[in-house]
Every structure is written in C-alpha cells, then in structure tokens.
C-alpha cells in the first residue's frame, strides 16, 4: 500500500492524555470522532466543564408553568419557567430511584410528580413531597433525619441573552457576552436582537455521526457551493458573494456570514467549471421561496453561528432557527431544530417563513445533503483503517473574507485540544 502510514495506526488502547495528536495542525485524527473514552472525556471537560450549553429558546416556554424537555450535552434536562417567570434547568432524573420523569416534548405544569413513587418536585427542581414520608401507623417511611432539601433535582446555572437560554454546571462562569467574545457576540445580537420571537415548530432527527462534525460543517464555507448545488443553481449563495468568517479569539465559536446580491449573481466561467452541475439559468417556478424581506440590523443576509459546544444559530434570508446537537455516544447525535419567527409577524410573513423553511430541516434542500454527507463521513472514519483527515485549505492569518478555507475548523480543534488536554 503506497502513500500514507495508515497501516501503522495506533491500536494500543490508549486513553486520555497519552493520545498523540499530530504535530501538524492541518491533520485531524479519526479517533476524536469514534472513541468512547474520548467521548467520555468530552462530557467531563466540555459539557460539564467551563462552557455555556444552549438548552432552548424563551419562546418555547413563554408562560409561567411552561416546560420543555432538553439536554445538556447528552444529559436529559427539563427547562421550566416557574410561576415568578424565572427560568430553571434541572436534570430529568428523579432523585429517588432515577426515573426520567418528564416524558412530554413540552407542556405546562405546577409541579412534576415522578410516576413511580410520586416524589414531587416544584418548577425549580426542589423536592417538595414524599408520599408516606412518616410511614403507616408509625412504621416504615423515610429516615427521621432525611432532609428533603438535599435531594432536589441537580440544577444547572442559567443565563439568557436575546431570548436564548443557556445552562452550565460551572459555578463561576463568565457572562454570555464574555463567553461569546466581541466578534461573535455582535453577530449573535444581530439575530437575537431583543424582539420577541414566536415558536413555529421543532424538527427532530438522529444523525449517525459525531456531534463535532456538525460544528465543522457549519464552519466550512468550502463545502457550501460544492455540496449544495441548490444554492448555486437558484442563486442563493455563490462563491463570489460578499462573505466573512469571523471566529472568537479562542477559535471555539464562529460565524459564516454572507450577503446575497440583489438579483441573480453572475458566476464567472471558471468557477462554473469547478462547480459540478452548475445550471446557468434556473429560475424557481415559485420564486416566493427565496424572497427576502430584510429584518435584521445587519449587512449580512445570511449568518450561521456556531457556538461551542452544541448550538448553531441560523439566520438565512428570513429563516430563523437554532439547532441543538445532543451527543448520544461518539457515533451518533440527535438534532433538535427549533424554528421561529417574530411575535409581530403577520399571517403572510409567517407563511413566507414556512415556505422558506423548505430549504432547511431534515427534508430541506440543504438539510438532506448535510445530513447525508456527515453520515458518509462517519462511515469513513468509523469503518476505514484509521488515518488523519486533512484541513489544509486557507491560512490561519488570512483575511476573514476568504471563503475557500478550513481556518475555522483548525481553530475549533486548537481550542478542543486545549480543553481536552490532548
């Protein structure tokens, strides 16, 4: 076998810090996508570490008593708004024997009663009642000194910005603003601009791939016009659009910002040749799908934000959505797409957003392709003889308008290595 050293892959059962990360930063080892011990380390260092985990939007729990099921990393949680309007995030695991008690996607409640032995929790996650606590006729029951205050549901710290809810297990986290850093925070605020949002619905899918590949995908402007022929065919995005790819200073968060030109962009002949199946003159039969009504105070008509670890936020034309990545082991994650509009949208604007959402989601023109490509990618790294992937395009000190680049992917892994101590 010629070329690479792929037959001398390390199979020494190494764990944690003894893994050798390639010295060359453009090389990314397969084992970060496939190995159980790496995944377990991610839980400790990332999801339960010094990070803000996205858990939902305020418009999903608009009224006191509203709740949704959600996740911090792989861990099921409940997000509630209590009767005072405060948001709480606690584990979806009864303190008694461990039942995952909240079984509905969303709802409204005064308290949560675990169905197994009816231990009862309030909307903050405090344990408020234990049936037969004193036993029957003085016999049985909980120990005299059993302190209910100690056995509430384990809670996460909560912060919000612009209607987006984050949770963390870290006791001394910085503000969301500091967490995002000025470059990304500015773009975050352009989308989550303080207007009230209205939930339009949620898509859910299982993607048989490692969660990090989804963050990579949305930090990868290189694939946009190559995989997504729909974009170029119908002129939503072409490589000559004005673009910008900011990252925060640690490299963990990023943005893919683009500005759609008015009318159909001209694609130079030489670019057409390198874009498979570029169709010069395609017009949609129903062009309403791509109509754009500027609504954000931003020069960018498209802004994809990747907020480490598991949030992506999209504003593309008039599509607004967040995607929560829920890891389920190294080889699989669940995606929750929360799609929303603004509270003051009229009926026509709501319909426009619904029409435009044909582009994204697990049956969307872009959604299908990203999900398929990432499945194929996981198949490759999981089944093939181990090798290192390449992220060689572009340069780390290039102008941020450069789009044929993998700079943001390298940046994320620089940060990742740091937190994971690889």
């Amino acid at each position: 076998m010629d070329g690479d050293n792929r037959l001398i892959a390390k199979v020494d059962g190494h764990t944690g810090t003894d893994r050798g990360w390639p010295a060359d930063e453009t090389r990314i080892p397969d084992w970060i996508y496939t190995d159980q011990d790496v995944y377990e380390r991610e839980i400790e260092k990332i999801f339960l570490g010094r990070h803000w985990n996205y858990v939902g939007l305020e418009c999903e729990v608009p009224e006191p008593g509203n709740y949704i099921r959600s996740y911090v990393g792989p861990y099921p949680v409940v997000v509630t708004r209590n009767m005072d309007g405060e948001l709480h995030v606690f584990e979806n695991r009864c303190a008694h024997r461990g039942v995952e008690f909240c079984r509905e996607y969303r709802g409204s409640a005064n308290s949560f009663i675990c169905p197994y032995h009816n231990w009862t929790y309030d909307l903050k996650g405090d344990l408020t009642a234990i049936p037969f606590r004193r036993g029957i006729k003085g016999k049985g029951g909980a120990p005299r000194d059993f302190d209910m205050a100690e056995f509430g549901l384990r809670r996460f710290h909560v912060a919000t910005r612009g209607g987006v809810i984050f949770a963390t297990a870290c006791d001394d986290m910085e503000s969301i603003e500091d967490y995002l850093g000025p470059e990304i925070c500015a773009e975050f605020d352009a989308t989550f601009d303080g207007t009230e949002f209205r939930l339009l619905g949620v898509h859910r899918n299982i993607l048989p791939s490692n969660w990090k590949l989804y963050q990579e995908n949305l930090k990868d402007p290189y694939h946009a016009t190559l995989l997504h022929t729909y974009l170029t065919t119908f002129g939503l995005f072409v490589s000559s659009n004005e673009s910008n790819i900011p990252t925060d200073k640690l490299g963990r968060h990023g943005g893919l910002l683009s500005r759609r030109s008015n009318g159909r962009p001209d694609v130079p002949e030489e670019d057409q040749a390198s874009m498979q199946a570029f169709k010069k003159t395609m017009e949609l039969n129903d062009p309403r799908v791509l109509a754009f009504f500027p609504e954000a105070d931003s020069k960018w008509s498209g802004a994809v934000l990747t907020i480490f670890p598991t949030l992506t936020a999209l504003r593309q034309t008039n599509i607004l959505n967040t995607r929560l990545l829920v890891p389920r082991g190294p080889n699989e994650f669940m995606m929750l797409w929360t799609v929303f509009g603004r509270a003051d949208d009229d009926e026509e604007m709501t319909r426009h957003r619904l029409r435009q959402n044909n582009i994204f989601g697990p049956a969307g023109f872009l959604g299908i392709e990203d999900n398929e490509a990432l499945k194929f990618l996981q198949d490759g790294v999981r089944k093939a003889m181990p090798r290192e992937g390449l992220a060689v395009l572009g340069e780390d000190n290039e102008p941020t308008e450069t789009i044929i680049t993998e700079r943001a992917i390298r940046g994320m892994y620089r940060y990742y290595r740091d937190v994971m101590e690889f």
């Binding site: 996607y105 969303r106 939930l199 339009l200 619905g201 949620v202 898509h203 859910r204 899918n205 299982i206 993607l207 048989p208 995989l227 997504h228 022929t229 729909y230 065919t233 199946a277 169709k279 395609m282 949609l284 039969n285 129903d286 799908v289 669940m334 799609v339 709501t350 319909r351 619904l354 029409r355 959402n357 044909n358 989601g361 697990p362 049956a363 023109f365 959604g367 299908i368 392709e369 999900n371 398929e372 490509a373 499945k375 194929f376």
Partner: protein, 166 residues
Amino acid sequence: MATMLDSKSAVLRDARLGIEEFNYAYAETLDAMDVDGWVEYFTEDAFYHVIARDNAESGLPLGLIYCEGKAMMRDRAYALLNTEMFAPRYLHLSITNTRALAIDGDEIRASANYTLIETLVEETSRIQQVGKYRDVFVREGGRLLLKERICIYDSVMIDNCLVFPV
C-alpha cells in the same frame, strides 16, 4: 331513512374505491422516485404539507415539507432530481386504511395511513415514516386529484433525513 343512509354509504364506498386506486398509483409513482409524476396527482393550487405529529397537535405550523401550489412541488421535484446529493435507496410506500369521510359538493374529504420503508445500500430495511394523510380530493376532467394532502407523521424522530415526499 334507511335507504338514505344506505345510498350515502354506497356513495362513500364508491368514493373510497376511487381513492384507493388513486393511492395505489400514487405510492407506485413515489416508489419509482418519479417525482415529476408525483406532482401530477395534485391540482394547480394544491397544498401539500408534511408535518410532525407533535407540532400539529401543539398548533405549531412548521412543516418538514411545505408546498403551496404545484409550482413549489415542481421546484422540489426539480431539486431532488437535479441538485440533491443523497445515498442510493429503495423506497416502499404503503397506503392503507383508506377512508372516504365526507362529500361536500365536488370535494371529498378522506384519510389513510401510510408507511414509508427505506432500504439503503448494505443496511437493513427500516421505517422512515409512519403517518396519516388528511386529504381533500376533487374531480377534474373525470380524474381525481388532490387539492390538499397533509401528511402528519408519528415518526417524529427522523432517521437522518427524509429525501422523497410521502
């Protein structure tokens, strides 16, 4: 009275037979991935919506697919055949429990259950969607056409992605 009821159920039964024929042909067209042909089962102004059951029951309008009119369906058919990248697959759509529910002028309200089984290369066959159609049929030029097909799917957690319509 009895005769009136009998004639009403006879009319509904006839309608159901026509719709069953329609649904069998519809399934066959989609099994063949003939999405251009799929578009022709609809009226020009038809509404086609694929919506998760939890969204539908919460009054949330977001669709996995949302087509207002045949033009949007044609655009989806074009995109699937000419721009989309996806793994090769076999499709197997079954439509059962067809019911004609009511006839109102020239519209027939109907429902049916559907199951889409997908088989990918070197994978075992698996259920991609199970759901229920809520349909409105009309007759145009002696032919039944869908004026509305709302596909409400129970299989809320989608296995990767839904490529073809149901």
